[in-house]
Amino acid sequence: MPELPPIVEFRQVSKSFGEARAVDAVSFAVRPGEFFSLLGPSGCGKTTTLRLLAGFETPDDDGGEVRIDGEVVNRRRPYERRIGMVFQSYALFPHLSVERNVAFGLEEHRIPPTEIPGRVERAPGLVRLAPATYARRKPHQLSGGQRQRVALARALVLEPTILLLDEPLGALDLKLRKEMQLELKTLNRQLGMTFIYVTHDQEEALAMSDRIAVMSAARVAQLGTPAEIYENPRTEFVAQFIGEANLFGGVAGRAGGGAGGLRPILQADGRDLLVPDHPGLREGTEVRIAVRPEWLDLCAPGEVPPGENALPGTVGDVIYLGETMHVVVTLAAGARVRVALRNEGQLLNPLRWTRGDAVMVAWRPEDCQVLEPA
């Protein structure tokens, strides 16, 4: 299948507020129909990025190009962009009934008044609210989940090609949030609409997105599919922001110092680690690697499988998490690592390890990620 031209494209876009750069030379392209997330901690520039796309902010004078459907829209006003948006606060007009809220955009787009009630009734997302209960009510008479659906319906009724969502699930409780995540994902697939989703919740981004742009300090730190982001984090920030990561450091050894395309990382205490060789590695330079807790295993000293990296340590806290058990191990070198083990049922098949046990933390050399220098 040939690659479709991007529906949204940022080319080196920058936006400053006074001296502060909120968005710094950000580039990415979104494919039509994609569920694309901007993920990052608060203050990373993700919301400003979304607002630049909506047209509430204008890029700096030499601040690159925002393109929609191939056209530069830097100076276009929000109402000239035909974009839908769901706001964090929902931004439902408190002085209008639910019905009039949903009809607002239709009225502004000069839809004949006779057609409006029908289209409001068929608005996607409203389906699950019985008309009699919502139509005449004011937004403050609705529950959080209902408001959220109305906000969604108000945006979708205009059938935009792009829908922007600014942390729309932030105010909902966990159960409702999970439900809405699924519903949004379904809507995205059924309507074939491009969703651009801002969130600081990494689990949410992983669960819903086709691709994620992880943002940090006004820049895109990494862009990729959820699996790429989680399994191949490129920087220490990405490794730690998405999921959990144990970090190890050392000095790169000579290429070919290990068998089969592996390269040793020399540690201060002489216990070298093997990692997959990486074009960015040069002998004698500092290297950081990330290993996810579930890539690690625990063995008794002397039982380490051949060819695996292994570091000695002492078992500390054991944390019961349901699906998994997290074992905190203090390494001989002083650092603490988290090891995730599958919970085989503590009642029938209790964990072998208890606090104070001497263990080896072991992992296969290919189960680690060499990080780019910060």
């Binding site: 909506a54 047209g55 509430f56 006003r77 929000p78 109402y79 962009r81 974009i83 839908g84 948006m85 706001f87 964090q88 606060s89 931004a91 439902l92 007009f93 408190p94 002085h95 607002f104 955009g105 502004e108 787009h109 108000r154 945006a155 205009l158």
Partner: protein, 259 residues
């Protein structure tokens, strides 16, 4: 709210509330007192109110007060609301100074405001009268309106306007369909404040009124200076009734709007 308040505290506070309202209540009560000179109660009468109707100067002053208050309120509300809207916009140079400066007319002693306006009008040879009173009232009501409307604007979610824009309304339509309706209670409150401030003002009016600008408070003042007489009680009661009616009416309108 499980903690009980000590009895002495409740007694003290009750006393303060009595002090706060007793003088005006006494005044209104005495406007119905038949006795001319003493404070002794010598029977109920409407005589003093009847006397008001025989005084063309009082009726003229009342009409002037209402005219001035209406015109000044309209001007101050429009200008003050625009100032608030300007100040609520995203940062621009001098914004903090303008905002701080708005409080200056509010805190300036009325005597200073009145005198300085008098000096200006005399210096540029503007004859004192209804015109100068309206101009002065608009000037001192305007910052109050701006501050009240600004507070309402600050409490408003800016994303509501943005939602209107993204739904296809341009800035002017978004203002008409979203900002203005949500701002209306604030504008009403500001206008109401302006109207009562104007209706009640004595000090500034006293200096810029001239012979043709005798509003009701200015007239009451000159009556008080000439000597205490029960007619003043009746005029005062009318003035109290007037502002109370304004407030009640506004509360009514505001209540219906909110429902």
């Amino acid at each position: 709210m499980t903690r009980r308040l000590p009895g002495w505290l409740v007694a003290l506070v009750t006393g303060v509330f009595v002090l706060l309202h007793l003088p005006v209540l006494v005044l209104v009560a005495y406007s119905f007192n038949a006795s001319r000179y003493s404070a002794d109660w010598s029977g109920f009468t409407l005589h003093w109110y009847a006397r008001l109707l025989e005084r063309p100067d009082i009726l003229r002053a009342l009409r002037l007060s209402l005219t001035v208050a209406t015109v000044a309120t309209v001007l101050a509300t429009v200008l003050g609301t625009l100032v608030a809207l300007g100040l609520a916009r995203s940062g621009f140079r001098g914004k903090r100074m303008v905002e701080g400066g708005l409080y200056l007319p509010i805190v300036t002693p009325e005597i200073v405001t009145g005198i300085s306006l008098l000096i200006l009008f005399v210096a540029v040879r503007v004859p004192l009268g209804v015109g100068t009173v309206i101009v002065a009232h608009t000037a001192f009501c305007l910052p109050f309106v701006a501050v009240v409307v600004l507070a309402r604007l600050r409490g408003m979610d800016r994303s509501l306007e943005e939602a209107a824009l993204i739904l296809g309304a341009d800035e002017a339509t978004a203002f008409r369909r979203v900002t203005l309706p949500l701002l209306a209670p604030g504008i009403m409150a500001g206008a109401l404040l302006a109207f009562t401030l104007s209706l009640d003002d004595f000090v500034i009016t006293f200096f810029v009124a001239g012979p043709g600008g005798t509003t009701l408070p200015v007239l009451v003042y000159s009556m008080v200076r000439r000597g205490i007489e029960p007619t003043i009680n009746a005029v005062s009661a009318v003035l109290v009734l007037l502002t109370s009616l304004t407030v009640a009416l506004a509360a009514r309108v505001g209540g219906e709007r909110g429902a």
